[in-house]
Symmetry: C2
Subunit: 88 residues, 2 copies
Amino acid sequence: MEAAIKTLIAQFKTYADGQDGPASTLSKDEFKSLVIAQLPNLVKNANEPGVIDQLMGSQDADKNGELTFAEFWDLIGKLASKEGGFSQ
Amino acid sequence: MEAAIKTLIAQFKTYADGQDGPASTLSKDEFKSLVIAQLPNLVKNANEPGVIDQLMGSQDADKNGELTFAEFWDLIGKLASKEGGFSQ
């Protein structure tokens, strides 16, 4: 389990330290790159207009256009909960 | 990333479907088994009195002595956030 958790942390950091904005948060473009590359099955229509905005909007609690690790983790939790068949 | 998420789901299910209580939630004993076996570095003192109670109490929002997947995911998120050096 710890290896899996470390993978999620490392991948978040890789994309957060990407194209723009602070290295500790995901900009919309960084988030889109992550979703398309890393979550092709959990988020099937990432390229469709509005999907990334809707996903990000639902998580960006402080509406600053950046996803913190906590906001990102919360989003992944919702996807995992659905994937695992747990009621939300 | 998806493989890591699936690992966390599968491990949760393995321990939740363990000793007692509903197969979709972790009882205190199941949670303790998971923490000791799966999170030896993220939770170093799991065997010390009160550690599991404190961890579980902080997450068991509905205080029913069982951790749902969402409550579990939230806890792992806090551990991951600390591990990743993100401010909590």
